[in-house]
Symmetry: C2
Subunit: 88 residues, 2 copies
Amino acid sequence: MKARVFVRPKPSVLDPQGAQVRRALEGLGYREVTDLRVGKVLELTLEESDPVRISARLEEMCRKLLANPVIEEYSWEIEGLVSRGEWH
Amino acid sequence: MKARVFVRPKPSVLDPQGAQVRRALEGLGYREVTDLRVGKVLELTLEESDPVRISARLEEMCRKLLANPVIEEYSWEIEGLVSRGEWH
């Protein structure tokens, strides 16, 4: 089974990388971009077919390793089953 | 209008960061993860409402700045309009 985990800076947290990319786009003439934030996507292949169990395990992985819950929020989707879930 | 750009290493390109995260997950007991690759998501806010024009501009931004087309592939979605598009 395949899953995607999304990790991004919390809305209250500054994102200097995103601000830098936005300025670079502006310099290239893309002035229509008024905000830009950069996050991560992790594409996982799992040897597990129970989506309930996968969801529980992904939540754990995010808390323990994949995200920094102080400054980041995360969500996930399971291919063909769970579309983009809530942000935690 | 909001859009999301996804950038990831091409399938033929090694992803040392992903391999490292997979090993770390394995060390924590998440042995069901057999493959993991790490990409970027850029969440953009755009002052532009024509989805055809947005798509054309996003494609340009990817080629010029957001992705390295030698080793990365990219796709995008426009909120409420275009779901995940093809990878380029």
